[in-house]
């Protein structure tokens, strides 16, 4: 008994001693090392999941030329800067930081590592070696709204959202305009969960909306709960981030999915070629950053055609979800007839358009 304990102790002590002597892990030279910082664990669906799919796709497309690694579940705050810095220190030459809260930490680290290129998702500050990228999610929201507007019987859609930030608000507005473009009687009810991830609360919010008459649900939160709740309540759902049809085989009528892999491959290639520049990319349907997921079984052909047509128009630049006349839901005219919204106004959006019920909680 005591002998085994001693041997164990010796072994672990030897391990410690060896560990002290071990040099930093060897790095394979040649291949471009690309690193990713994720805000949540990689799960089966959602924001981080879509980034990770793209990472794997990129690795496949550029096989042999790049290696990747990632750090998941990195809180936005004091820890992010250290993680990003550790990655830069460990030899990453291109770093994708995939959440808004990483903006300032990314900039701070970028200053200390001028030879490393950084790409920050959804932010608004660039630097010599920091580019930013984002997708026009609202284009997908508008298209999903068209399908929802055609499928609803009660003319009420329910929207489960996390926090009233512009990206979420413009999604609600675009969805509503999509719905009302085919169904002027449609209204959208919004419930805020004050949390990006809490399947229980999301499901409760979804059920509340159904109880208030909504028969199409969508969400801007990070789990599959809303689509599952729709399936259980026999109403329709529009999935966001990822295709969630396996969670709602009957409920899901369409999904707005994020597709980052061609962008990641493109950026990695420019870094390999030495032509990378800090850019401000805001891509949409046209650039393949947003893809409309599979139609549900329930969606009839004419509705599918309608969506496809609008999708082609958006891709061709002929249709913009935010083209006047556009009133907010207080009746104020925000865009005059024929006027299209500017990117700047869009990225600061803090009002509901006509057709959304209620007042935006912390607008102004």
């Amino acid at each position: 008994m005591s002998r085994t304990t001693r041997r164990m102790t010796l072994a672990t002590m030897a391990a410690c001693a060896l560990a002290l002597a071990l040099p930093a892990s060897a790095q394979d030279k040649g291949a471009l090392k690309i690193c990713f910082v994720y805000v949540s664990p990689i799960s089966d669906a959602g924001w981080t999941h879509q980034h990770d799919i793209a990472r794997i796709q990129m690795e496949k497309k550029l096989a042999g030329k790049v290696t990747t690694k990632y750090v998941e579940n990195v809180p936005e705050g004091a820890d992010a800067e250290r993680v990003i810095r550790d990655l830069a220190q460990s030899g990453c030459k291109l770093i994708f930081t995939t959440s808004f809260g990483y903006m300032n930490p990314t900039l701070k680290v970028a200053k200390q590592f001028p030879n490393v290129d950084f790409e920050h998702a959804t932010g608004y500050k660039t630097a010599k070696n920091v580019g930013i990228y984002n997708a026009r999610f609202y284009e997908g929201r508008y298209l999903a709204g068209i399908v929802a507007g055609k499928m609803t019987r009660t003319n009420i859609a329910g929207y489960v959202a996390a926090f009233p930030i512009p990206e979420v608000v413009m999604g609600i507005d675009a969805f509503t305009r999509g719905m009302r473009s085919v169904n002027p009687k449609a209204v959208v009810k919004v419930v805020w969960t004050s949390s990006w991830f809490d399947p229980g609360r999301e499901s409760e919010a979804a059920n509340t909306l159904v109880a208030q008459g909504a028969d199409v649900l969508t969400h801007h939160t990070d789990s599959t709960a809303v689509v599952q709740a729709a399936e259980a309540k026999h109403v329709y759902a529009v999935a966001y981030h990822s295709d969630m049809s396996k969670y709602g085989p009957d409920a899901q009528i369409i999904a707005v999915t994020h597709v980052w892999d061609s962008y990641y491959t493109h950026v990695a290639q420019t870094v390999l070629d030495g032509t990378w520049k800090p850019d401000h990319v805001w891509g949409g349907i046209k650039d393949g950053m947003i893809r409309m997921g599979p139609f549900g079984k329930a969606v009839p052909q004419d509705v599918r055609d309608l969506e496809r047509k609008a999708e082609a128009e958006i891709a061709a630049g002929k249709l913009n979800p935010f083209t006047g006349p556009m009133k907010d839901n207080q009746g104020k005219l925000r865009l005059t007839a024929g006027q299209t919204i500017t990117d700047d106004a869009l990225s600061k959006m803090n009002y509901y358009v006509e057709g959304v019920e209620g007042t935006l909680p912390s607008g102004g």
């Binding site: 391990a15 560990a19 071990l22 750090v71 004091a78 250290r82 460990s90 004050s194 803090n350």
Partner: protein
Amino acid sequence: MRIALEARREASRAAIVLAPVLATLATLAVGFVVFEALGKDPIAAFHAFFIQPVATRYGVGELLLKASPLMLIATGLAVGYRANVWNIGAEGQLTLGAIAGGGLALAAGDARVPSALLLPAMIVAGALCGMAWAAISAWLRTRFNASEILTSLMLVYVANLLLSWLIHGPWRDPDGYNFPQSKQFTDAALLPNLLSGTRLNAGLLIALAVVAMAWLFIRRSVWGFEMRVAGLAPSAAAYAGISSKRNVWLGMLAGGACAGIAGVNEAAGPIGQLLPSMSPGYGFAAIIVAFVGRLHPAGIVFASLLMSLLYLGGESAQVNLALPSAVTGLFQGTLLFFLLAADVLVNYRLRVVGARPATP
């Protein structure tokens, strides 16, 4: 034949030192098996976990930076815990401290208030607000008899939602495209750096000063003595006329003040602005730190360094070995279990006894 615990007359000095060593060795042994099972070289894993994070000057800075809020909060909490005042809402008190200190920094804005004035004011405001938040629980306890365990925990959620509302609403950076964040603080509102090339700032000195003060309070003051008595023997304390209400107030306020200062330190230190979440759970981790440090200021300093290393190690293992972040929680939990278990040796000795327990 079985092994029984026999109380020692007084705490064993040897065990005080040996217990953590034993616990660490046991954790390493478990880690060895787990890493082997995961197909990772255990030695490389230990290296990534315990050595690599502190192999550089920057790493040491990070270790101290992350240990500062933990030791600060744990010290404050320990004052209460010694008197059986169970404040588990330090996370909320930290948030309130950050709101107060950060609010002051934002209010000062570009008004060119000198740092020597602004920073102390922020720290005092943070301490006061943290105390005020803790005082709600103290008042509910002394006036309405409501358990501080429940009220302090519930107030964590309220505090975080309050911060979230401020950052999504009134305190949002007007030039920030309506994103949830405040303006960045001016340099005058940032804690001075202690070690060049790192993020280590004067927050560490504040934390150490508070630890020293807590030590003096516990060891040298009458109130500190009375609180210890109240914790060890409540009925004797009541008989001796020690006010239990005062202990509740002192315990809660000490915890609130320390957590509040920690909140200011985070805002004015590594973050430099207000964000929807100011702490990755320091208020809860500090509870473990307080107990692993045996509620003693010196022990708390060591425990906070260890806890900090475990966090850094977890990240480093992800970066260098692609170990999933879940392994960190597992590993942290295991080490804490062993540390807590090994502490039994301080007050008890193991004895092999017959079928019947030995009579005392």
